[in-house]
């Protein structure tokens, strides 16, 4: 039992905007009142619901490949020294699993959604997630380049496709479905890409990226997944790609979708030298599309390592940077590329990218539909979120940062003209309440009775980045995990899954196709339940209305 008294509470779901409230906790949940137990006097402090990361890459084959590729970064970063209660670890661009849990919890984030999991190596992802302590987890399975599914979509066999998608979600023990560069990654297996929404994907006769997107979005709505299609559009990172992104949004035709790392998809210009921000046009369109949510995928200047299932883009980035490059193909399902990268304010393209992320966050008017992410580790590492919060809350600081950009870059962006400053209430929405809602997790992102007792207590501090980077207390599931900057407990997190219904006969269809093309036994393909740490199966919902 625990009571947090006297704090200024920010609970956007219940419209609480800095009023003094007590938060009572019993048995891991927020309750109306408790008798006895510890009391935390939060007078003069700020109380938030635990952070929720809607899109991050913290576990699985690709981030683990990135770890292997960056020993030089591990050496220069902060090291976690083992203690009697904590494991050792390394922070940096691609933190180790234990460090990932400590770093997220250390800044008050208590739920993370691993955004890209191939079924074939989903066992790996879940094993790694088990070693990410403290936070609750979920993951999205990659689907938009799965060749068996693409064949069905091309043939218009929607019902069978729906059973297949449901089967695959359960096989991967996933929570949602991620589509990455629909059709493009499949084409990359032959060295090609798919850039136009209405053009046939190489290797198919009529299938287009648009058909993949709409087909999947429809199936996901029919299945009633709590989280809509998690969409990484085609043509990521390319100048002028706003047209592809808008086309994608239009093709959804009112269906639910979450647009991942929108920053990377909102560029104008014809080539690298003319690339510019199209954040205002994107925001203007997006503001009207109530069916959509998005996350920022914001960029911060500095070193990072980029990892994405978007193989063709990563090969291009490797050619542009001449740095290290790793590529993984995952049989018929997907692939991924890994390239270490440094974002520099002096670089025109990087400057535009930096501005676009912030511009989207500032120009999209409904904070319930855009969330704070950096597409970790692509735009920046997740442990730099407090820096973005500072940029959003403080116009003067932002303008000071703009002066780092070259004259030329400043002409390509709109940030200098934007005066909006986020309130704490809005920050609580984009870091917690909003993403929890978009993920369809009713017990996350708020502090009402029945919510999971994930609570962050900050000291008030004029230095916004310091305030949000160093919470005084972090409570996870009712347990104090961080106190005065020290890790006090490292409980295992839970994992959220969904189990959409499907016809078992789909296995009869799938098995021969699988056995013909895959290199493993069909029986060994699905993830067994015992691999999931503290599973919690979420209900599917009715989205027909």
């Amino acid at each position: 039992m625990l009571r947090i008294t006297g704090g200024k509470v920010y609970d956007p779901l219940h419209g609480i905007d800095g009023q003094i409230r007590d938060i009572c906790i019993h048995d891991g949940k927020v309750v109306d009142s408790v008798d006895g137990g510890r009391t935390i006097d939060a007078s003069g402090m700020v109380v938030f619901p635990g952070g929720v990361d809607v899109h991050t890459h913290v576990a699985g084959g690709s981030i683990n490949f990135a770890r292997a590729m960056t020993p030089e970064d591990h050496r220069r970063t902060v090291a976690f020294i083992r203690s009697q209660t904590t494991r050792s670890g390394l922070g940096g661009m691609a933190p180790t699993t234990f460090a990932t849990g400590y770093l997220y919890a250390g800044m008050g984030w208590t739920t993370v959604n691993e955004a890209a999991v191939p079924i074939l190596s989903a066992k790996h992802t879940h094993e790694e997630l088990r070693d990410v302590p403290i936070v609750d987890k979920s993951c999205c399975v990659l689907m938009a380049n799965n060749e068996i599914l693409l064949d069905l979509l091309e043939q218009g066999e929607m019902e069978r496709a729906r059973h297949l998608v449901a089967w695959q979600i359960w096989a991967a023990k996933a929570y949602g479905v991620k589509a990455v560069n629909p059709g493009g990654v499949a084409a990359w297996k032959w060295g090609n890409d798919a850039k136009q929404m209405a053009e046939t994907v190489p290797g198919y006769t009529s299938l287009t990226p648009a058909k993949i997107v709409t087909g999947l979005a429809q199936i996901i709505d029919e299945l009633g997944l709590p989280h809509p299609i998690h969409l990484h559009c085609n043509n990521l990172g390319a100048p002028g790609n706003i047209s592809t992104t808008l086309e994608t949004m239009k093709s959804l035709d009112g269906r639910r979708a979450h647009m991942a790392h929108l920053q990377y998809h909102s560029y104008g210009g014809d080539d690298w030298s003319t690339m510019r921000s199209e954040a205002p046009a994107m925001a203007e369109y997006f503001n009207q599309q109530k069916n959509l949510t998005c996350d920022a995928g914001a960029v911060l200047f500095g070193d990072t390592v980029t990892i994405t299932a978007d193989g063709p883009w990563q090969h291009l980035l490797y050619k542009l940077t001449g740095r290290k490059w790793g590529n993984l193909d995952v049989e018929n399902e997907t692939g991924c590329g890994i390239v270490p990268y440094t974002y520099r304010p002096s670089n025109l393209v990087n400057a535009v990218q930096w501005a676009v992320g912030l511009e989207l966050l500032l120009l999209i008017d409904d904070p319930w539909r855009i969330f704070l992410t950096t597409d970790h580790p692509n735009g920046a590492c997740f442990w730099r979120y407090p820096e973005i919060i500072q940029l959003l809350m403080c116009r003067d600081f932002r303008q000071e940062c703009v002066t780092q950009l070259s004259e030329k870059a400043r002409e390509r962006v709109h940030l200098p003209d934007i005066d909006r400053e986020y309130s704490r209430f809005e920050i609580a929405i984009i870091t917690s309440a909003g993403p929890a809602k978009a993920l369809g997790m009713p017990n996350k992102g708020h502090l009402g009775a029945g919510a999971d007792a994930d609570v962050v207590v900050y000291d008030e501090d004029e230095d916004i980045a310091r305030m949000f980077g160093h919470p005084r207390y972090v409570i996870k599931g009712g347990e104090i995990v961080i106190e005065e900057g020290d890790i006090r407990a490292t409980p295992e997190g839970r994992e959220f899954l969904v189990q959409p219904s499907f016809d078992r006969e789909i296995e009869d269809f799938l098995r021969p196709l699988f056995e013909e093309t895959y290199t493993m036994s069909f029986e060994n393909y699905p993830v067994e339940m015992h691999r999931i740490e503290r599973p919690e199966i979420s209900e599917c919902i009715d989205v027909s209305t």
């Binding site: 020993p71 050496r75 050792s88 094993e127």
Partner: protein
């Protein structure tokens, strides 16, 4: 299929082209290929020392560029001969560079059943794939410094726990001699050469035969193990956990307090 080796092996029958190179010329051959891929000139007189002609190598490059999807498989003949990791690096670089023309990948042929699992797990837990030292309470990595043969030959370790390996029958003699000098503990389904130079041997169930769990294929795909037998012996997992639990009961050598090392050594 193109086979490259220093002698005719049984695989020659299965291959379309056999390139027999001279021993120890791997790095030279691959470096020439890298140059030819980029249409850079090479010194023809020196090419002959590889055992191949420029025509053969040029033909090889042309075929690779024309392939729709190429794969290099490589093994110990590359990584354990003169040049070692640089030979492997050369091949990986060649594969990367061929992607400017077509799709090409490279895959190491791993000898041991779950060496990939060890790589993968050490990476996610420590950031590094092997040769990791925890003496300062956090992971540090340096092959050549913290790798087993170096540690044993130089006498840099003062006890050893050997899990599912028989270094007593495979390592250089000076390394074996050091294992015999220090307290060595060995877990294996059989009594091995290493068991005989160990102070402690514990017999364990055989992986995947009588011990359940997971193994990683060399392309990093995890697979479940389905044991067919029930062993009278405990599994490695159980024994290591019990040793760990016994160690945890002893006073901790690490001074509590520092959680973070801001400057690593």
């Amino acid at each position: 299929m193109v086979l490259v080796d220093i002698r005719e092996t049984k695989s020659v029958k299965a291959s379309d082209i056999f390139l027999q190179i001279r021993p120890g010329k791997d790095f030279e051959v691959i470096t020439i290929l890298r140059a030819l891929v980029k249409e850079q000139p090479v010194d023809e007189s020196q090419v002959q020392e590889t055992g191949l002609t420029l025509e053969q190598l040029q033909d090889f490059v042309d075929r690779m560029k024309k392939a729709k999807f190429g794969v290099f498989f490589f093994g110990m003949g590359l990584s354990m001969t003169r040049g070692k990791h640089m030979n492997s690096a050369a091949l990986l670089t060649l594969a990367a560079e061929l992607n400017a023309f077509t799709k090409f990948v490279a895959m190491p042929m791993r000898g041991h059943g779950n060496v990939t699992g060890a790589d993968v797990i050490m990476r996610w837990q420590t950031g590094y794939p092997f040769a990791i030292q925890f003496g300062r309470g956090y992971p540090r990595y340096n092959p050549g410094e913290f790798s087993t043969v170096d540690l044993l030959v130089r006498g840099d370790v003062d006890a050893a726990l050997i899990l599912g390996a028989d270094p007593g029958a495979t390592m250089p003699q000076p390394a074996i001699d050091h294992l015999a000098r220090i307290p060595t503990i060995c877990l294996d389904p059989k009594v091995t050469h290493t068991s005989r130079l160990s102070r402690v041997h514990i017999t364990t169930a055989a992986t995947g035969i009588s011990a359940p769990g997971t193994g990683y294929r060399m392309d990093e795909v995890p697979l479940p193990l389905r044991p067919a037998l029930k062993s009278p012996y405990p599994t490695d997992e159980q024994v290591v956990r019990r040793i760990h639990e016994a160690v945890l009961k002893k006073p901790d050598w690490l001074q509590q307090g520092n959680r973070m090392a801001l400057n690593q050594v």
